[in-house]
Symmetry: C2
Subunit: 349 residues, 2 copies
DNA sequence: GTTAGCACTCTAAATATTAGAGTGCTAACG
DNA sequence: CGTTAGCACTCTAATATTTAGAGTGCTAAC
């Protein structure tokens, strides 16, 4: 038997161990593997290989007389080099997109639903991180006077991202002034990204000679308020109850509590989730790789969805390290694709 | 010793048992009570009384040689007839309101914060149920054209309740038409409750002779879309992780899971929560009284907050039956009052 | 390279043991 | 009559003890 054959066998043994452990949550022994591999190899041989895999740090034993369990590295190798995930079929993507789009939802409820559907299909906690108006190209601004010193500012950006904020203004303002302010703002923006718009106004304010000085000042006042109030991204999280149904957390309620606490804190979660989806395709982060306190026993499978080839947000699942990476990668990939599709079709204007 | 003295003693024994059990989560025995009551009564006498209380269904024993635990009825009597809650002081209410109002938040984030603060102070899950524009008096409507067949409808109601919806319209519409539609709508509403507005338009549509027939039709199309899309109330829930930290749920993770599942389903939760806060002041619902599947081991303390004397929403905590009803009643009361106060001060325009 | 056999290890489940917390009852006391 | 000390009794929860068996590594033979 040559070297690549041997390598292939090792892989298939690792694969079988991981997949068996993922479904049963029980350390797996040599006999079981031998059986699963169709008795083509005796348990003694398997034991041999398992010994090697352990020495290389891919497996470990909870105790001497137990079967083996994959280590973080074991999962890593399984995900990167062993398991073969298929890409979701066009049909699957279409179906997901259909569910997303049915009832012609607005953007926000649709994203919420995406998280909900994903969590249900994955039987794991699922999230969607989506950009807000401050990350998009502003297409329209409307100001609704609510009194002399108060107004509602409605911002519409591409892809139906909408934000509205109540703003207190320093100097009182008349209806007519509001009208011309709106006209000024809307000629000014012409599809500019929010921050560009803000920047260009700031520069104009510095050049004090500007004939629209007052307009610029007022506009800035409003937009800066929006900038500081509106978060840069929104998080939709669903299915957290699935997580604590997992046996690893049933056995240890303290871990379950720590995890839930962590999932409750949007502020802690967002940076980690953002950092995960740097690459293009589906990303898998195992245990400590997630870089989130209290998450060492958990993994994350995430992917980005895009608009015009530009990644704008991410979807993914969160669950115990012992998760079905193979199916989940396909599923998350599909969900991300269908969201991309949906954003181009239903939601774009 | 006369009858009222005896009654008073029974009450103080029940009180001590409940409050001890609430803090320790351990069945309480006669000796402990005797000690807590300053040895004024021997454990034998306490045992006597406890026997009575058990026969009356206020207490029960998990098993023969354990102490006693309050029954649902026991808690009920404790809450209704025994414990004395103080009302929150004006100072406490003021402080809570200050925290709510700081940073001059918009309505929605303030409600979210209210739930968050309450859950933190109570160390229990906390909720806020708040009305949406469809429950308020509409003060302003703005339409933002997003294309020939699409527009954004922004509704502003009292107390800064705001909703925006993207609406597809059947017949294409020009900018000028939108302008006159907005003018028509805004003269029409004049602070009417949403449903009245809808009703009056519906009636006008039936009288087909109306000179504004087309306006009315278009307005209805828009408002009906809002009616069917916008929920009647919004739920803010926070601190669910506190619930599963409670010993009763640590011991039985299945219960914890069932409960979390239940808390995740907004649709199931809302009707129950709505029904709780029918009365005026703070309401306490114990176990099955909450009338919610999977909630038999939990209780709810809730109160309404109001605008102009009219209850519009509710705040409360959710936790195990073994909760500190006394402090929580004061706390929830205070939070409700401060929200009422805040709605009158900061938020109203 | 593969495998049967075997001695060895360690756990998890089953069983036995024990300490003690709490009870109800009784009889005595003021 | 209400109160209380005393006592036998019950039941649990914690702690040992035993046991069955799953899984291992090693060895020697194929």
């Amino acid at each position: 038997m040559n070297a690549t054959d041997l390598e292939r066998r090792r892989n298939s043994i690792l694969e079988t161990i991981v997949e068996s452990y993922v479904t049963t949550a029980t350390p797996v022994g040599s006999k079981l593997i031998s059986r699963k591999l169709g008795q083509s190899l005796s348990s003694a041989t398997i034991r041999h290989v398992m010994g090697e895999l352990e020495r290389e740090g891919l497996l470990e034993q909870p105790h001497t007389s137990a079967g083996r369990v994959p280590t973080d590295l074991g999962y890593r190798v399984y995900v990167d080099a062993v398991m073969c995930t298929r890409r979701p079929s066009a049909e699957e993507v279409r179906q997901l997109a259909a569910v997303l789009g049915q009832d012609e939802l607005d953007l926000e409820p649709a994203l919420e639903r995406a998280a909900s559907i994903l969590s249900q299909m994955a039987q794991q906690a699922a999230f969607v991180v989506a950009p807000t108006v401050t990350q998009g190209r502003v297409r329209q601004i409307e100001l609704v006077p609510l009194g002399v010193r108060k107004m509602l500012c409605v911002l519409v950006a591409d892809e139906e991202m909408i934000a509205s904020h109540v703003i207190d203004i320093e100097e009182s303002i008349t209806r007519d002034e509001v009208g011309s302010l709106v006209r000024f703002l809307n000629t000014e923006l012409t599809g500019l990204p929010f921050d560009h718009l803000l920047g260009s106004l700031e520069r104009r304010l510095l050049a004090e000679t500007d004939s629209f000085y007052h307009m610029v000042k007022r506009s800035l006042e409003i937009l800066q308020h929006v900038r500081s109030t509106e978060p840069d991204e929104r998080l939709f999280l669903d299915g957290t109850s699935y997580v604590i149904a997992q046996p690893e957390f049933r056995r240890d309620p303290r871990k379950a509590h720590a995890l839930l606490k962590c999932l409750e804190s949007e502020d802690a979660l967002l940076p980690s989730l953002r950092q995960i989806t740097v690459g293009r395709r589906v990303q898998v982060r195992i245990g400590p790789e997630v870089q989130l306190a209290g998450f060492d026993e958990c993994s994350c499978v995430a992917a980005t969805f895009s608009i015009g080839g530009q990644a704008v947000g991410s979807v993914g699942v969160l669950g115990p390290k012992r998760m079905d990476y193979r199916s989940l990668r396909t599923l998350v990939d599909g969900m991300a694709q269908s969201m991309t599709e949906w954003l181009h079709g239903g939601a774009s204007i």
